[in-house]
């Protein structure tokens, strides 16, 4: 790790990222519309930190992750990794960069090829990237297996012989093989049982400390995200509605949606259930095929006013690194609110 990225220069910078999946019809594949899965997402990830990305199902979290790792080609916007614009970089030129940017997948059952042994799976990065290892691939793989808490002798086994948690470790081992700088983890624990989930979360944290990793963790479980993230971005229908450091986001959420999300999480405290003040949203997330105009949350927002249906609120910095896209943010310093209402 020779490069020196200065603290305020992001490792990954995403600006106005867009992905519209065309909806086609008929023999001639006429385009009749587009699923705006990701529609103008911007954020920066700094070296060594963990950015959490939360939101409800279908809001475009995975798509964002896949855009950043260039498994998908963005429709618009920009992805800059280590100062290089990789938005439309060809797969050939991207290949060497892939060493530095890896992905952990959600489903430990489908993310490992059932026909390959653990050795093959974890050794794949070496083969694909043509990396030479000192004591042979096998040794390297076994080292990594040990690193993620697996028995190195499991080298010749097949994924189906492992439990979910172990599989997720195998998946993590694979991403670690080439010592990446950035890891995008798409719901790394949501398929796991609580007790196993905790093992994996701890493992991720340990690895971060040990290997100086940077994470983007995608999840829908707010408590998990809080546990591992330094900063958290909340997505709604293809947009980031709020982004802030963990503490300020969870203690003083500004966007009504964030508020609602937080208050909807059931709390494992029988006494608290009577005391808590709850915000109950009605309805579901609208379809990204026909997102509501302007502020996309206005259809479910109890604070919505006329302006929310006509003017799209920009993602603005309200207080020290806390950015929110809302005309009527809560917990905001008075000045900020006033500025918006006057506009």
């Amino acid at each position: 790790m020779s490069e020196t990225v200065t603290a305020n220069e992001p490792l990954l910078s995403v600006q106005g990222l867009e992905k519209h999946f065309p909806v086609t019809k008929g023999l001639l594949k006429r385009q009749v519309g587009a699923v705006k899965a990701v529609d103008g997402v911007s954020f920066d990830v700094f070296k060594g930190e963990t950015l959490g990305l939360v939101g409800e199902s279908g809001c475009g979290k995975s798509t964002t992750g896949r855009l950043v790792t260039r498994l998908l080609e963005p429709t618009g916007g920009k992805v800059v990794f280590e100062g290089q614009d990789i938005t439309h970089m060809g797969q050939g030129r991207l290949r060497p960069l892939r060493r530095d940017m890896q992905m952990i997948f959600q489903d430990p059952f489908s993310s490992l090829n059932p026909r390959h042994t653990v050795g093959t799976i974890v050794g794949a990065p070496f083969r694909i990237q043509g990396v030479q290892t000192e004591n042979g691939v096998k040794k390297a793989v076994q080292d990594i297996l040990a690193l993620v808490g697996l028995n190195p002798e499991h080298y010749n086994r097949y994924p189906h012989e492992f439990s979910g948690g172990q599989r997720q470790r195998i998946g993590i081992a694979r991403t670690l093989a080439l010592k990446p700088k950035l890891i995008i983890a798409d719901e790394p624990v949501s398929a796991l049982d609580v007790s196993i989930q905790a093992q994996v979360v701890n493992l991720l944290e340990d690895l971060q400390n040990e290997l100086d990793l940077t994470y983007v963790v995608i999840a829908h479980d707010l408590s998990v995200v809080r546990h591992i993230s330094d900063r958290v971005a909340v997505m709604y229908l293809g947009k980031i509605v709020e982004i802030a450091d963990r503490k300020s986001l969870y203690s003083s959420p500004m966007h009504p949606y964030t508020n609602a999300l937080l208050s909807a999480v059931p709390v494992p405290d029988p006494k608290a259930r009577k005391e808590r003040e709850r915000i109950r949203l009605t309805g579901d997330v609208p379809s990204p095929l026909n997102p509501p105009p302007a502020c996309r949350f206005h259809t479910r927002c109890w604070k919505a006013q006329e302006i929310c249906k006509t003017v799209e609120p920009p993602l603005e910095t309200v207080a020290g690194g806390h950015r929110v896209a809302c005309h009527f943010p809560e917990n905001a310093p008075a000045a900020a609110t006033a500025a918006v209402t006057q506009a």
């Binding site: 896949r66 790792t69 498994l71 797969q91 991207l94 290949r95 060497p96 892939r98 060493r99 890896q102 992905m103 997948f105 959600q106 489903d107 489908s110 993310s111 490992l112 090829n113 059932p114 026909r115 390959h116 042994t117 653990v118 794949a124 990065p125 694909i128 990237q129 040990a146 690193l147 993620v148 808490g149 697996l150 028995n151 002798e153 499991h154 010749n156 086994r157 097949y158 189906h160 012989e161 492992f162 439990s163 948690g165 172990q166 998946g171 694979r174 093992q199 701890n202 493992l203 340990d206 690895l207 040990e210």
Partner: protein, 332 residues
């Protein structure tokens, strides 16, 4: 910090799963899905019987000359002395079955049915195997490409499959087999006929397996390990052949096993309709075609090739069913 429930300090020591350890002592060598399927298959008695019959059939086909030299007569040799000249039927009961002629003899010619059935197995199996191979190769390659690349490639290949599926296959095969000249592509005689039959059966049957492979590829393509491989920078062909193909081997094996019997029947049908391999080379379908006009004269002439086809096809079907169950992830 004392955290008794926590895994001890460093991640390196994070405990490997105890349960797994307990269950499977110290066997480190992993069992692949194929090995598991094989274990399951071994327990399926009926499928195993099918498999054994197939192996026997293949052995019989390979060693037909040897077996015939022990138990039979040259398949082309006439034994007019076994034929009643008045009605051209075999002399003796059961179509002249005896120790000398195990299955009796053909009417008119008196040829040894036993050895003709044995030699017939060679042609039938040969054609079925190679035709299946051809179907599977074309079907797999095109199905995989269509499923994996999607888009216009998929459209083109899928339409192609539609076209092939819209051909009335048997009619077409008959037509094609009928118009091909006697010498072509530097081949002639049986070699040409067999190649031709292999080509026709294989070439027109591929869309069936192609569709299956395409469907499987489509769903495999969505599996995250494909993304994983891609995110590691793997090229398309690597993904196709190293990641996807191994997962297709099970369906390929299963459908090949189920395709072989249908190709055996197909070959028999073509021979039956008179466009098969030329005489005096015996084939089961061809023998049946002749026997049809003689079933009253010599029932065994009809029954033995019929049985041969039946047993072979049944054996393959049994094995195929067993394989399908063995590879089925949903099965217990």
């Amino acid at each position: 910090m004392t955290a008794p429930l926590d895994v001890p300090g460093s991640a390196v020591e994070a405990g490997p799963e105890t349960v797994l350890e307990g269950a499977e002592s110290s066997v480190i060598r992993g069992r692949s899905l194929g090995q598991i399927a094989w274990m399951r298959l071994k327990r399926d008695r009926i499928a195993m019987i099918g498999g054994i019959v197939i192996i026997l059939l293949i052995l019989v086909a390979i060693f037909a000359p040897l077996l015939v030299s022990w138990f039979g007569h040259d398949p082309a040799e006439w034994h007019r002395e076994k034929i009643d000249p008045a009605i051209q039927a075999p002399i003796g009961s059961f179509g002249g079955m005896s120790w000398d002629f195990l299955f009796g003899v053909e009417p008119t010619t008196g040829r040894d049915l036993f050895s003709r059935i044995l030699y017939g197995a060679r042609i039938s199996l040969l054609i079925a195997f190679f035709a299946t191979l051809l179907c599977v190769v074309i079907g797999t390659v095109l199905g995989m490409i269509a499923g994996f690349f999607g888009g216009w490639v998929d459209t083109v290949i899928s339409r192609l499959m539609d076209i092939f599926l819209a051909f009335p296959l048997l009619v077409f095969a008959l037509a094609l087999a009928g118009v091909i000249p006697d010498k072509a592509f530097g081949m002639s005689g049986d070699t040409l006929r067999i190649s031709l039959l292999v080509f026709i059966i294989g070439f027109f049957n591929w869309p069936y397996i192609g569709r299956i492979i395409r469907g499987q590829t489509l769903s495999l393509r969505e599996r995250e390990f494909v993304d994983a491989s891609r995110s590691l920078g793997a090229r398309s062909h690597t993904i196709l052949f190293k990641e996807i193909l191994p997962n297709l081997l099970a369906p390929i094996l299963v459908y090949s096993t189920l395709l072989i019997p249908s190709n055996i029947l197909f070959e028999a049908a073509l021979s039956f309709l008179g466009v098969g391999v030329r005489p005096p080379t015996p084939t089961w379908g061809g023998m049946l075609a002749e026997a049809v006009h003689n079933y009253d004269v010599a029932p065994n002439f009809m029954i033995f090739p019929g049985l041969a086809i039946f047993i072979t096809v049944l054996a393959f079907n049994l094995l195929g069913d067993g394989l399908r169950d063995a590879f089925d992830p949903k099965a217990r």
